[in-house]
């Protein structure tokens, strides 16, 4: 894949000449295609979760897979998340590459113990004798007008747990490639999907299935800038880009970085950008306290101590439970709050 430039804002690399290898897809359809491709190329890849079969999952991300791959490759499981993760671990020990779907991020917690105590530690415990290439797909984030437990952003909890890798996609091209790379990875990967963007037509992008994708654990500079740097992931990338566009109209150039990999962090592009701009704003929907945003800030203040002209600021969800959705427009970081933070940073 060509080095990313401003023209690849949505992660779409230069198009291939062969139109049959290019499909214009939403994020949701891109993940679906990525799953299908992975299942076709390795029959050890199996999909399991609640309602992933006939229904195709409540978001239809696994649509059509059971029909084509059968009930032993796409499992409608009993309703219990510890069971989903715990059996996936055992299947991985047996040599499978299970892809679990958690219906909504708020329902991952019954499986938290298996994730922390087994999935994250088996490889370390056995000094590499057991690999657990399990992918856990987690639709996350808010903005869909839902009831409790359907709009949260728990990714920081997983980033804090050693032994897990955590990624998030923000556009169809990444969605298509990253899910396959996650399945290919010999480590357990938490794969956070921006559910609000699944079927957003305006984010549709041409996905070329023949190019060489960016490595999974690399972040990506989407936009150069001089005034300040914005860093986001998943649904926040769009917010950052919108803010940067708005600022650009006023003549303020903001750099935007899509983190993509939340653990391990690839902050090199962030450091480089901050050294130029002197200012950083992290954007995420998650609560701020003891979060990934704090990790980024801490490492940036350490690496770029003499470059910073203002403290790293965070624009996040508040340190409250996710509120009733009628209030989510206030709760979720938006263009205004990001720009407000930019103002504060510039005025420091």
């Amino acid at each position: 894949m060509a080095a990313p430039t401003r023209s690849t804002v949505n992660g779409s690399a230069g198009h291939s000449e062969n139109p049959s290898t290019v499909q214009t897809l939403t994020i949701g359809k891109a993940i679906n295609l990525g799953l299908r491709t992975a299942m076709e190329s390795d029959d050890k890849v199996i999909v399991l979760g609640e309602d992933v079969g006939k229904l195709g999952g409540v978001f239809r991300i696994t649509d059509g897979l059971q029909k084509d791959f059968g009930e032993q490759r796409v499992l409608d499981t009993p309703l219990a998340e510890s069971g989903i993760i715990g059996t996936a671990v055992g299947l991985a020990v047996r040599g499978f590459r299970p892809v679990c779907e958690i219906q909504f991020e708020g329902f991952i917690f019954p499986g938290f113990d298996q994730i922390v105590s087994q999935l994250a530690k088996l490889h370390y415990r056995t000094q590499g004798k057991i690999k657990v290439p399990v992918v856990i797909r987690v639709p996350f984030g808010g903005g869909i007008g839902a009831v409790e437990h359907h709009s949260e952003s728990p990714e920081s909890l997983f980033a804090h747990v050693a032994g897990l890798k955590v990624v998030s996609c923000s556009n169809p091209v990444d969605a298509y490639w990253m899910i396959q790379q996650a399945i290919d990875c010999d480590d357990p990967v938490l794969f956070f999907e921006p559910k609000k963007l699944y079927h957003m037509g305006t984010l549709k992008a041409p996905v070329d299935t023949t190019v060489t994708p960016t490595p999974l654990f690399q972040s990506r500079l989407l936009r150069e800038g001089t005034a300040a740097t914005l860093v986001g992931y998943g649904p926040s990338v769009k917010v950052c880009l919108d803010a940067a566009n708005a600022a650009a109209e006023e003549g303020t150039e903001l750099a935007v970085i899509d983190l993509r990999s939340l653990s391990p962090l690839d902050l090199t592009p962030v450091f480089e950008s901050v050294r130029r701009t002197g200012r950083l704003i992290t954007v995420s929907e998650a609560q701020s306290e003891s979060s990934l945003a704090a990790e980024i800030a801490t490492r940036v203040q350490q690496e770029c101590f003499y470059s910073l002209e203002a403290p790293v600021l965070r624009v996040t969800g508040f340190d409250t439970p996710y509120p009733p959705a009628k209030l989510e427009e206030y709760y979720l970081p938006d263009l205004d709050r990001v720009l407000h933070a930019v103002d504060r940073s510039l005025a420091w």
Binding site: F107, A146, F318, Y330, L339, V342
Partner: protein, 423 residues
């Protein structure tokens, strides 16, 4: 091998014959979905045809249910169904973010809900609007959750109706703890001095679905309640589906038989029979109040609508199934029974219909006029005691918001690289 019963008992001798003990899909279904009536063990007092079946064991528990009482149960079910349909329609009109319909489960919810004493406590899942109604919660108060204006606003103590719980299974352990508390406070196993059970004894009922039985929390609730003799009725509404998954995905055996492994009674009742649900729940509550520990009730019923308004059941189930269950409608059988036995006349039914229309209209009116919460609500009640960090976050955000108002009011530009609100 006619019944899945055999799996409950070791039959070592069979094992040498390959797959001898392996159920066929038909056997699984025979046990789980059973006959159209729910299998041989089904308790039923009122058939789909409106016939009253005598039950030496359970009749005493509904001896007081005369025609008037039955009319009230009928009214409850009609009102609740009407409200449910109204809410469903309001969701379609964008007035609610989502609705979780109870259609088809009216008898299970009204029968069990009406079995409770005011001092009892009910722990619902998220579909128990009928139980809430029976507990005296204003149906309108249930709407806030689904309008996404609140997360459950009613007074749980006044009504003996705990907030909804959305994470499948969690409430079963919470209910168990509550029931243990009732026991620790000496509220079970008392007599009134004349040797009769005490009027002040209490019990708890907890609602969950067929899918929920797979969750670890439900199991742990069974373990705890059994070990502590907690006065807890486990009320499982087996509506045959957990979103798109039929009960076969959760169990080989009928769900009421789960209780066997823990050592407390498990019973299957026709969940579309309001009288049966009332009787069986009253019995189970009595077992609990008497200090005999938990009881599992499986109410064999059917989810006649989608899982929620966002669900599309045509993707996973056939319409025959729905048609078959329509013949077992919980309301219709009571209407037939009342009519045939002179328990109610046309005027009564007309009156109930009118009342339910009025009820729906009120609901509609309330919903359309429900105020949105204000941003302060985001920060309110995160803690019972103050958190200075959060208070600071709130103050900062509210000041930020005021900046917009000010900017708009004064017509002046908000400071910054882009004007606030300009997007």
């Amino acid at each position: 091998m006619s019944s899945p019963e055999q799996w409950a008992h070791p039959e070592p001798g069979d094992a040498t014959a390959a797959t001898a003990a392996k159920p066929t899909p038909e056997q699984v279904i025979a046990g789980l979905r059973a006959t159209t009536e729910g299998g041989a063990d089904l308790t039923q007092l009122l058939t789909p045809e409106g016939e009253r079946i005598a039950s030496p064991i359970f009749d005493p528990y509904v001896a007081d249910v005369d025609a008037e009482a039955l009319r009230e149960l009928y009214r409850d079910m009609v009102l609740v169904r009407r409200a449910d349909r109204e809410a469903n329609a309001m969701q379609r009109q964008g007035q609610l973010g989502i609705w979780v319909p109870l259609l088809g489960q009216e008898a299970a919810q009204i029968g069990s809900g009406r079995a409770l004493r005011p001092t009892d406590m009910a722990f619902p899942s998220y579909r128990e609007h009928g139980v809430g109604y029976a507990r005296g919660v204003d149906f309108r108060e249930l709407l806030g959750i689904f309008r996404c204006s609140d997360q459950g606003g009613w007074d749980f103590k006044e009504h003996g109706f705990h907030p909804y719980t959305i994470v499948i299974g969690n409430q079963v352990l919470n209910a168990c703890g509550y029931a243990m508390g009732q026991k620790f406070e000496g509220k079970v196993g008392n007599t009134d001095g004349q040797g009769n059970p005490s009027e002040t004894d209490e019990a708890t009922i907890v609602y969950f679905g067929d899918g929920a039985t797979s969750q670890g929390d439900v199991h742990e609730g069974f373990v705890w309640a059994a070990v502590y003799d907690a006065p807890l009725v486990f009320f499982c509404q087996n509506n045959q589906w957990a979103i798109s998954e039929p009960t076969e995905r959760q169990s080989r055996l009928p769900l009421y038989q789960r209780a066997r492994g823990y050592g407390f009674p498990g019973i299957r009742v026709d969940g579309n029979d309001v009288l049966g649900c009332l009787a069986v729940t009253r019995w189970a509550l009595e077992v609990c109040r008497n200090g005999n520990g938990p009881v599992l009730i499986e109410a064999f019923t059917y989810r006649m609508d989608a899982h929620t308004t966002t669900d599309d059941p045509t993707r996973y189930r056939l319409s025959d199934e729905l048609e078959a269950w329509k013949l077992k409608d919980p309301i219709e059988r009571v209407r037939v029974h009342l009519t045939r036995n002179g328990g109610a006349d046309a005027a009564f039914f007309a009156e109930v219909d009118a009342a339910s229309d009025a009820f729906a209209a009120e609901l509609r009116d309330y919903c359309f006029n429900m105020p949105d919460p204000t941003p302060e609500r985001i920060f309110a009640n995160v803690y019972a005691e103050p958190s200075p960090v959060l208070d600071a976050q709130r103050d900062e955000f509210l000041a930020y918001l005021e900046g917009f108002d000010g900017a708009e009011e004064a017509g002046s530009e908000a400071p910054g690289v882009v004007k606030a609100g300009e997007r």
